[in-house]
């Protein structure tokens, strides 16, 4: 959460705040500070800190509302507070999509170990990875090909996208749940055969 209290109230330009509020609601995608800045005509473009102060003030304004401003990887967006999710879910007749274990494991490997080739994923999962799955992930724009490995066949190297983080409500890869530590090996002599 970016919700911090704003100290010097005079730094918040209320006009800018109001414009930023309208823009964030109207935009269909999260907006970064730079994107917000870019909407202003060049000559009256507020500095970064002004936009940031406006965003913080907005976070504060919506503190007690049913919706709030949230930061995800590609920028800020207004979203329904999580305690309201069950109510909102009642609005939609369609069940939210469920993802298979195979897909979740694949995206997890790409997220934690990126960049990885399909071979790397297969190595970790111990089974072959269907092209279908890779295409589904590319299609959802959760992953993208960032390069090709200098190896025979020049396999594609996959990495996750900002959209992936946006979907999972994260603002960076670092915000992902930490991987469990690997225990040290403690191999003792083999027992009864």
């Amino acid at each position: 959460m970016t919700e911090k209290s704003v100290e010097p109230a005079q730094r918040v330009n209320t006009t800018v705040k109001r414009i930023v509020e309208a823009l964030l609601f109207a935009a269909e995608q999260p907006m970064s500070v730079a994107q917000l800045q870019a909407v202003f005509p060049e000559l009256e473009r507020p500095e970064r800190v002004i936009i940031e102060a406006a965003v913080e003030a907005l976070c504060d304004d919506y503190r007690n509302q049913a919706i709030g401003l949230h930061k995800v990887a590609s920028g800020y967006r207004f979203q329904v507070k999580t305690d309201m999710a069950d109510w909102v879910a009642r609005l939609f007749s369609e069940k939210p999509p469920k993802y298979s274990r195979a897909l979740l494991e694949t995206i997890a490997i790409i997220a934690y170990q990126q960049p990885v080739t399909r071979g790397d994923i297969e190595e970790i999962r111990g089974v072959s990875v269907s092209s279908n799955m890779i295409h589904t992930l590319l299609d959802r724009e959760w992953i993208k090909v960032i390069a090709h490995k200098e190896a025979p066949g020049r396999p594609a190297l996959y990495a996750t996208t900002a959209q992936f983080l946006d979907y999972f409500n994260l603002d960076s890869l670092a915000a992902m749940p930490p991987l469990q530590e690997l225990q040290a090996l403690a191999l003792e002599g083999e027992m009864e055969i």
Binding site: Q79, R101, A102, I124, G126, Y167, E190, I193
Partner: protein, 270 residues
């Protein structure tokens, strides 16, 4: 822990490594009837091994290879008894386990660094790596996500009198996109479309649009002289294709009467 299985001359349940098993082993933790559902839930040999290890509270960093190999083989055997299409990966793992086991049986060399040389080390490392990804995937499934827990606050902007520009597309973009698809589709030949077929397809669409909602037309109304011979052929092929696809009906009220064409409605004969 060791496994004791008594062999008697009764009906054999499974053959494991050439040895007959008469009963389901005690340490097979699920009723055989449940196997069918159960076995398909494994994501691969590593997943199955992890299950065996965790189920018996074994220490992953110090797994008793002989025991786990035996267990694994039983499962594999049961799987093939149920005529599962066994993925090669499972058999590969069985072979690997057997290899490790045999190497463990060889007398140890005295002055070799233990862990480095232990044939289990690589396997254990892989199991650990897989387990942490498996856990990470489970956690990822739990954290809030769009469509299920996160809903974007939207507003109506139609009162704002602006026209949102539509995305611009170059013909080239479409061509490139199709190329991408073709590249992916291995069986290119299945989707070969000739230029001629394209014009037939276009004509098919044109005919359907013409027929939409408005009764029937005379057969002759689908042909124009200006198009010449090629045009007539295209139109004729399009009508045949549409008829074959059961999208249109060709009607003749009386012998030698004029043919009429109309869109097929409703029904669904499949």
């Amino acid at each position: 822990m060791s496994i004791n299985l008594v062999a008697e001359s009764r009906t054999v349940t499974a053959m494991v490594a050439g040895q007959p098993y008469l009963d389901w082993p005690d340490d097979l933790y699920i009723p055989p009837e449940a196997l069918e559902v159960f076995l398909t839930t494994f994501e691969g040999p590593l997943d199955l091994l992890l299950y065996l290890i965790r189920k018996q509270n074994l220490d992953i960093v110090n797994i008793p290879i002989a025991q786990i190999t035996k267990q694994y083989k039983i499962y594999i055997e049961v799987m093939s008894n149920f005529r599962f299409e066994l993925a090669a990966e499972y058999l590969l793992m069985a072979a690997l386990l057997a290899e490790i086991k045999s190497r463990m049986l060889l007398p140890r060399q005295v002055n070799v660094e233990e862990d480095e040389d232990d044939p289990r080390a690589v396997l254990v490392r892989r199991l650990q790596e897989y387990e942490r990804i498996k856990k990470a995937a489970e956690e990822l499934d739990e954290i809030p996500r769009m469509e299920r827990d996160i809903f974007i606050a939207t507003i109506d902007t139609s009162n704002v009198n602006v026209h949102k520009p539509k995305p611009e597309v170059q013909l080239q973009d479409i061509v490139l996109a199709l190329q991408g698809v073709l590249k992916r589709v291995d069986q290119l030949t299945h989707h070969t479309i000739t230029k001629e077929a394209l014009s037939v397809r276009e004509r098919m669409a044109a005919i359907m649009i013409k027929l939409e909602g408005s009764g029937s037309f005379l057969f002759a109304q689908f042909f124009t002289y200006q198009e010449g011979r090629a045009g007539v052929v295209v139109a004729f092929l399009a009508i045949l294709e549409l008829s074959k696809a059961e999208l249109i009906e060709i009607l003749q009220a009386e012998p030698f009467g004029e043919l009429r064409i109309r869109a097929r409605v409703g029904g669904g004969n499949d």
